[in-house]
Amino acid sequence: MSDRPKVIFDGNEAAASVAHRASEVIAIYPITPSSTMGELADEWSAAGQKNIWGTVPEVVEMQSEAGAAGAVHGALQAGALSTTFTASQGLLLMIPNMYKIAGELTPFCMHVSARTLATHALSIFGDHSDVMACRQTGFAMLASGSVQEAHDLAAIAHAATLRSRVPFLHFFDGFRTSHELAKIDKLSDDDLRALLDDRQIAEHRKRALSPDRPVLRGSAQNPDVFFQAREASNPYYLACPRIVQEAMNAFAARVGRQYNLFDYAGHPEAERVLVVMGSAAEVAHEAVDWLCSRGHRVGVLKVRLYRPFPVEEFVRALPKTTKSIAVLDRTKEPGAVGEPLYMDVVTALREAREDGLTALDPLVIGGRYGLSSKEFDPAMVVSVFDELSRPKPRRHFTVGIVDDITHLSLDWDRQLDIEPPDVVRAVFFGLGADGTVGANKSSIKIIGEETPDYAQGYFVYDSKKSGAITISHLRFGPRPIKSSYLIKRASFVGCHQAAFLAKFDMLEYAAPGAVFLLNSPYPPDQVWDHLPREVQQTLIEKKLRFFVIDALAVAGATGMKGRINTVMQTCFFAISGVLPRTEAIAAIKKGVQKTYGKKGAAVVQKNFEAIDQTLDNLYEVSIPASVTSNFSMPPIVPDLAPDFVKKVTAVMLAGKGDLLPVSAFPVDGTWPMGTTRWEKRNLAVEVPVWDEVLCIQCNKCVMVCPHAAIRAKVYEPGGLALAPASFKSTEYRGNEWKGSKYTIQVATEDCTGCSLCVMVCPAKDKSNPRHRAIDMLPQAALLEAERSNYDFFLGLPEADRTKVRLDVKGAQFLQPLFEYSGACAGCGETPYVKLLTQLYGDRALIANATGCSSIYGGNLPTTPYCTDSNGRGPAWANSLFEDNAEFGLGMRLAADKHEEQARELLQRDSIPALLRTGLLNANQSTEAGIAEQRARVEELKSLLASDPSPGAARLRLLADSLVTKSVWIVGGDGWAYDIGYGGLDHVMALGRKVNLLVLDTEVYSNTGGQASKATPMGATAKFAVAGKSRPKKDLGMLAMTYGNVYVARVAFGAKDAQTLKAFQEADSFPGTSLIIAYSPCIAHGYDLAQGISQQHLAVETGYWPLYRFDPRRAVNGDSAFKLDSAQPKGDLAAYMHNETRFRMTEQQGPERYRELVNSAKQEIRARFQLYEQLGKGAPAVAVAVKET
């Protein structure tokens, strides 16, 4: 069937393409790496794409995966054909409904991009720990190992579930398959119609709940019958494997690709066999072919249908000659005899032998590999076969890591390269913002669609949100590409950012004689002198061809503003030789036209100009015979870094974390504090420079900085004795520390260049208002001096917390205990988090919901939470997405219980009465009070040190709990409004002393901009493609109905004093508090340097009213509600027009947008009036404030 179109899909699109066409109702919830499936389904439905029965599937986003599973269950019960997409924790949340759906024998197919479950740490990457947690639910499980399989087996699963009535979980490897781009055959609608049997669909509909022929399902059964009724479904499970095979056969008859329950590849008389499923099976297949061609008798058995596990088919699929088997599991079950696939294989062989189905009695060993997308390559496959050849193979092993603790790991040959020479391999290093990945995706499309060649693309991103580095791995070749692993030897290496030269060993990837393309600001005759010695050495040794282009200059000249993607793509085609030059350029232009043609001629034109100018600016550099450079790659971290940072963090920073052995790591996921300070990222092209004469010392720049990269200190003049010559200082203006000096200092290497500090600076030069007390100037020229200035600055004493006046200015003298996070440049969340740590960090426990804040807060290699000079700082942990309020509450319960026990134990006679009463009655409402209590606690501890009684020892351990703790429960709107709302609500109802901080970006930011219930009316988001038609949920109002919860709505950029006040009131409030914090985000679609003015507009127009609801006020008969915003003025539409999220709605349908804007205006007016009424002393709900 050659007429099927060849398309470039990733695994997610491959599966979703089938699922969308084979479903009527789709309920979803975003979770990496499956989000794309739901997004595509939603986009297709929004665009009116129909399923194979001619109707547009209904796609609904739920509040959680549990909700999606419930909705799907209901849809199925009511007779719809349904699907969902999920992974990891999301899949776990579906398990209760999965039991139900299976128990009710419901035809249903879900698609899972298998992802690691969070244990000692979260990981977004791929393994089978999530799907393996479902193997007992009664779902059939079908595994795909490639993009084409994810497409084909999706169809087979949808067909088989209808016939078998057993629900299916179709899965493929998260990222490795879900995000790999490949050229595949796309199944037609007719293919799907042929596979999905109308009669069985009719049967499904007939079983549906209907008041016209009602039945009852979901009864409660008792000991007398439950067991038998549960066994009644057995025949369906027995029949299921045969039905799947028949569906595979029917598929083969129509499409030509034959799948089997188990597919064997390798020597027909193999003695050593690997059993594996997922993308590793493709890697093993490639390695097995290579080994067989070298005379080895080896093979691989790919497991397709894992549940129900067909014992007979399994043993039949094994070569009769099999002597030993290695089973590879991509999951870990601590404490089990072995991992699940291993256990199934052992059991199946034993049963089959005893039942006379086989005579085979091979040795079986089991190994773990590939957790969290750990590389699994042919060399590792070879090492597993080698292990089977040993006289006494290890029964249990791991492969892909070095385990120097339990010594389970196999060694492998890191130099082994089995890839055929006719496959072009190219690796590109770029920045997220420069468009490298996008350009590479376009190159894959060009080669995949314009030539008969096959193409593969896989993209590795780093863990930071600002200045993220991307590594693209591209393969092009004459055959379908099975190499589901990273490229190790490339014929082409592209470095799209010259700054990477000194950071990464990029040429490690280059095969001898390969082409190296560098985007460099230096012309061809000078570039050599700017290369580190190591790079020169490799260029010479590997005899590389070296090309340079100043892509930034070409992009700049053609109005592309730093987007060097098209330029570098043109270079790649010009020198890699994968396509004839003119053909390639025509194809690139066609690609540009396709991408932008619809949206705008101007952008197409700019790209065309860039393409045309590229070739004139691309030069080959002749490589001298010897190394001449006088500088080397600098050390990753300075020598004064702590041991752990040097031995572990630095290795990870160098991109070589794979080399770290098991012994390098803590056993329980505990990680040291404050490691971001060792990673000098130097992201900013321009950094702020302070003018001490013009400065009015308001500290607003310090307040708004998302990365704590601009700081203020006030100190004794004597501190300047050893200051570097360029260190700036001025007289402190203010009465509290007369005669002191004042400095604003920039952390030049940590600044991201967002320029928020400049935008907020109120001090302008009267004669030249363009100059402010802070200006942005090029970083390079400042770097050397400012590095020592910042070091010196850090050495100056921190402010005395007991003496700082806690207003906006004073609070910014407090040391931030959250610094240089990986958050986006201009992030609107982090200023709140930073403020929290300044005010309460030294006594804070932070429970952090999964999301952006847990990623910039806790994603390795370096993390931002740090300690003060006393070693105190925020104790931070992330549990899950859905349970954060409960998680934080638990922290409070523990802190309270410990404090209570300490107070009880204080009744000991040995403690002087004065100290006891001091400790018990301490007023800790001020920093001074806390300092005094800390002193008392120290006194108590030293007193107890000499007391040998057990009670004393217990009290000593608990003594610190007598210092008040501030519990903060932090998360985004996805958590607070949607998935965690139930818990949030319950925690508010309990009224315990916790502070809930909602960083409201009005969208799921971390997973890529899906709508939440916080998304405002009129905004486009994923799952609200056409623009949300309902207003934002008023979370604050809901919280206020409890009457005893402190609630504040804040926007730091609009009214910083109100934000500060809210934090202080929340912390002092003797019950639960909720702060809803407006957080500008890249998902809003504007230059975040304008974040401050957007916040002003948001508040001015009434879009984001500011208020504080303090139940304490009601005790005095006042209204608890205080509106901090003035009457809305100005045009809401103007605020909205500044942001792409609203403009996209307008651009899709101006008429509808105008209606939405009008509705939004009315809604805002009505809500504001309501708030005004509340503020006018509407009778406060009677509240009982619990005194603690």
Partner: protein, 332 residues
Amino acid sequence: MDFKTSYLGIKLDSPLMPGASPLADNLDVARILEDSGASAIILHSLFEEQITREMTGTIYSIESHAEASAEATSYFPRASEFSLGPDEYLDQLRRLSDAVNVPVIGSLNGITTRGWLDYAKQVEEAGAAALELNVYYLATDPTEGSGMVERRTLDVVRAVKQAVKIPIAVKLSPFFSALPHFARELEASGADGLVLFNRFYQPDISAESLEAAPILHLSDPSELLLRLRWLAIVKPGLKIPLAVSGGVHSGIDAIKSLMAGASAVQVVSALLKHGPKYLRTIRAQMERWMQEHEYESVQQMIGSMSLSHCPDPNAFSRANYMRILQSWRPTA
């Protein structure tokens, strides 16, 4: 009473029409305008620069964060019906042409030759009866002389004229140093009419915050005087018709404009202030005045007070200014 006039080679029932403005963005308003006697409807200007900026801005804000994180390879949905170009404008033009019986005139401000041409063609294809080229250009570059500014405008007019078949009007700013000569050159380059004048945003300065902020005031009748003078001066040297734009707030304003040389009278601010039906009021005022003064047609008055027919042509020249100065006495 004969209100018939001819403008850009199109015979119109009246010289009164709404000028380029957001008035015609709403179909209902457009119908009211037609019912109120508008002889043509002019759409607001399609600004190439704005389209380009929004296009690049939107694409930039979508793309600059895309493909940078494993979790989020994008932050916005891929909307299929997502237009960043002039589609909305062109759609509105089409809808308007269907909704009203009077000619619909497009208006365009370009920044590149390509933009002028492409959009002009698209406006023509969308069904515009004529096209107004809104030459909205502020000369801020000290290395650019007036000759260069004029030449570029003439080039655009020539190029657009070759590219489209519909008549084109050129809407000018008052900031040309030798307007009569330039007007004639425009005519020679193919312009089918001129509109005097467009109005600019006037940036104000906030002395408090040391910021400059662009603001747009509605016109008032005092602005008409500038137009009257230049209509009167330019009219005699041209064969192509003129339109007045800016400052017409009443029937007598319209009449004076016609007398100065306008064949068409564009009204915006008065309609924004009083509503679209106010156009009928202006017409009624004109009719009453014409009756009282025994005029039979507007043709009688077009150009009656231009430089070539005005009893005292010096009134429009520099002397005018001198005399006012001389007659001015301090009140103290």
